[in-house]
């Protein structure tokens, strides 16, 4: 463990996808991730909030090693990650996906699903693997274990499927778990169970967790820190309390006012929401990417220069010229 206790370090990370016509004529890039930097410590939980097209999924895929970064530095457990050790990175990071049924191969039973990662990475001897499978099933409370081992995914409920996905993510003893909307496809009453489980597992193993969602209202049940992403960049970083009670970036403000709590008063009020849609990532706007929709923009500044990160209050960062 490196001295400063940092598990994952991301510096100026860019991930661009090539756009090709007819399969080989390059016509441009989709700048899906355009300059993101942060550190994550061991055992720390972080939520990344953003809408579709914000870059959160690409960030996740880059951290998982599924997509190589175009520019910038990604360091994991003190080691720099590049094309040569992508496989090593993949083994260290567990992945929990959004669709629990889709994430499980329908033709493999529970035992086989959990065995696969170990077989592929040549981890442990057969007896050790079986023991690990039992261990991890008990941890996610899919008990009695023997009942579940021969079952196929379609025989499990949504909540049970997601538990299995979490179990699979844990089976190789990763140091970091990345979860992409892990509860959005589950019923309301089951979501709590799963969020609970993830919190418990994280604390028990001192795991780093990056949780990606578009639903701000679940954040406080999950992590202390929150990043808000917009158009391939991180626009605000704060702890949950800070974001909810004192959102700084105009986009964060809009996001917060757009999320309803169940309250009948909502039916009598119109929400103050910026019009328009997130920008294209092929030709993003100049300067601050939110400026076309921002009601508080400073002409001449916001539409020309990319805002740097400011820290108006301790540990609360925002990339917005309003706070210069």
């Amino acid at each position: 463990m490196p001295e400063n206790n940092v598990l994952l370090s991301v510096k100026d990370l860019h991930t661009w996808y090539e756009l090709r016509k007819f399969g080989f004529i390059r016509v441009g890039y989709v700048r899906a991730l355009d300059g993101v930097s942060f550190d994550l410590r061991y055992g720390e939980a972080l939520t990344i909030v953003g809408e579709s097209g914000s870059g959160k999924t690409t960030l996740l895929k880059t951290i998982l090693g599924l997509v190589p970064p175009t520019k910038g530095v990604l360091e994991f457990a003190g080691k720099k990650v590049d094309a040569s050790n992508l496989l090593w990175l993949r083994r260290q990071v567990g992945y929990v996906q959004q669709d629990p049924y889709g994430a499980l191969p329908p033709f493999m039973n529970v035992r086989r699903i959990l065995l696969e990662p170990m077989v592929i990475n040549k981890v442990g001897r057969p007896a050790e693997r079986e023991a690990r499978i039992r261990e991890v099933l008990e941890e996610v409370r899919l008990v009695p274990v023997d009942d579940f081992l021969p079952k196929f995914p379609h025989m499990l409920s949504g909540g049970q499927q997601q538990r299995l996905v979490i179990a699979r993510a844990l089976v190789l003893n990763p140091k970091l778990i990345v979860a992409d909307e892990p509860v959005s496809m589950l019923d309301a009453s089951v979501r709590v169970e799963i969020l609970d489980l993830m919190r418990r597992v994280q604390k028990a193993h001192n795991l780093g967790v990056i949780y990606i969602t578009h639903d701000l209202s679940t954040v406080r049940y999950f992590s202390e820190r929150v990043f808000i992403m917009y158009a391939a960049k991180v626009v605000e970083k704060a702890d949950v309390r800070g974001i909810v009670h004192n959102p700084l970036h105009p986009y964060a403000r809009a996001l917060l006012s757009a999320i309803p709590d169940p309250d009948h008063e909502n039916a009598h009020r119109f929400k103050d929401v910026p019009p328009g849609e997130p920008p294209s990532l092929v030709k993003p706007p100049e300067g601050c990417r939110f400026h076309p929709r921002c009601t508080q923009k400073i002409l001449g500044l916001c539409d020309r220069e990319v805002p740097p990160e400011f820290e108006p209050s301790p540990n609360h960062f925002v990339s917005c010229w309003l706070y210069r």
């Binding site: 399969g23 993949r90 992945y95 996906q97 499980l104 592929i120 699979r168």
Partner: protein, 441 residues
């Protein structure tokens, strides 16, 4: 995913599938029986042997069960000197006369097809001679002439033109006709009397007399006197093996190729796609004819050509399905925990579409069975193997449909249809079982 027994239990609920299963089961029994009873080399030998092996069968005889419908067709009767009444007499120094009375009952109203005598004589210098005469049930005696028998000989009485002229009518009819009803045969006990004169000590003659009937066996005979039931029997394993190998081989290769192409994409995908399109414009039949002409018409070569031709096909359909399947989250998850490309293709991608593969290759089996038969009917199939298509080919070229020998055409055709039906019924049911689940592909 359904396990094997789950599928079977599901099949049981569909009556058509059960019928199909029974048909396939019977076919398999037939095939195994054929292979065990008459091994491959033996079957080929028999089938291409020509007349020599089959001489004792009637030519173009109908199946025995025609008589269940009152056809009254005579069966073949064989009498041998070894079993016949024998009297011996010495006539002179070294001359011996042995009289054989070959007696038999002929209870039919229709005439036999042919009459033949098979002789085997042993001697040193002077061959035995014999005098033949015929006795009818109503006591008439008809002399049939004399012969000298040297070694192994076959004397076809019914084809003897001298005898024909003397009797005034074809021997097989005149020898049997009822004087009161000349168009019908007189039923009763007949005798062929053979006086055999040997001129040396140790010389002998044995004979077999065959009254050829008009029915034979379960399936009848063809123009070369071959027992059709052997051909039909052996047609089963050939049809099934050919159909199955072709269908499964082609389907599997197509499947794997599509999976690989769809997964890797890019240049490989485009290459296979173009190859498939190229193959689509090449016609199968001329290629098979060319191969047959220039190389070999053996069924193995046909099968190999078909495999090579067919494997580069069906790409677009499977590929479309694979392209969709490859976006599934569990595949991404597999990449995330370190699975390599080939493991993903073979263990995660291909198994997803096995429910599509299985019904489609079961349904393809009859296609290839019919293809083999069609090639045989057209005359470009394997010339030496007894297959159903070949039998139809023989029947057709010998004008069976003109000569009223319908059994010759209909028996192999019926077997082909039943086979096709069996596989089709199972295939369609499998499709119905597997398909609803595919809607959530």
């Amino acid at each position: 995913m359904m396990g094997f027994w789950a599928v079977f239990a599901e099949l049981r609920r569909h009556p058509s599938a059960m019928v199909g299963l029974v048909i396939i089961f019977l076919l398999l029994v037939m095939s195994i029986y054929a292979v065990i009873r008459i091994p491959y080399s033996e079957a080929v030998r028999l089938w291409r042997a020509g007349e020599v092996v089959w001489l004792e069968n009637p030519r173009n005889a109908a199946p025995k069960w025609y008589n269940w419908f009152g056809a009254g067709l005579p069966e073949t009767i064989k009498i041998e000197t070894a079993a016949a009444e024998r009297t011996e007499e010495r006539v002179g120094e070294s001359t011996k006369r042995v009289t054989y009375r070959l007696a038999f009952d002929f209870p039919y109203k229709r005439f036999p097809q042919e009459l033949a005598l098979f002789f085997t004589s042993t001697y040193t210098t002077v061959p035995p001679q014999l005098v033949l005469s015929w006795r009818t049930p109503d006591g008439r005696e008809i002399p049939l002439g004399t012969r000298t028998v040297r070694g192994v000989e076959r004397y076809v009485l019914s084809g003897d033109s001298t005898l024909l002229r003397r009797l005034g009518r074809a021997p097989e009819e005149s020898l049997f006709s009822d004087p009161k009803n000349p168009e019908q045969a007189l039923s009763g006990r007949y005798e062929l009397v053979m006086d055999v004169y040997t001129f040396e000590p140790g010389a002998s003659l044995s004979a077999k007399f065959i009254v050829y009937g008009r029915v034979y066996g379960w399936a009848g005979t063809d123009h070369l006197r071959r027992d059709l039931s052997i051909g039909l029997l052996w047609g089963a394993p050939i049809a099934v093996a050919f159909g199955f190998t072709a269908a499964v081989g082609i389907a599997l290769i197509q499947f794997i190729l599509s999976g690989i192409g769809a997964w890797f994409g890019g240049a490989l995908d485009i290459l296979i796609d173009r190859l498939t399109e190229l193959r689509m414009i090449l016609p199968l039949l001329p290629i098979l004819i060319l191969v047959g002409m220039l190389w070999s018409r053996s069924i193995w070569v046909i099968l190999a050509t078909l495999l090579m031709y067919g494997s580069i096909g069906g790409y677009k359909t499977y590929r479309a399905m694979f392209l969709q399947a490859r976006e599934a989250p569990y595949i991404e998850a597999a990449k995330a925990y370190g699975a390599g490309n080939f493991r993903i293709v073979f263990r995660y991608l291909l198994p997803r579409l096995i429910p599509v593969l299985i019904p489609s290759f079961v349904l393809a089996i009859p296609d290839y069975v019919f293809l083999e038969a069609s090639l045989a009917v057209l005359g470009i199939g394997d010339p030496i193997l007894p297959t159903w298509g070949k039998i139809i080919n023989d029947a057709y070229s010998m004008g069976a449909h003109f000569k009223g020998l319908y059994y010759w055409l209909l028996e192999p055709a019926a077997l082909l249809m039943i086979t096709g039906l069996g596989f089709a019924m199972i295939g369609f049911t499998l499709d119905r079982i597997f398909n609803p689940r595919l809607r959530s592909l």
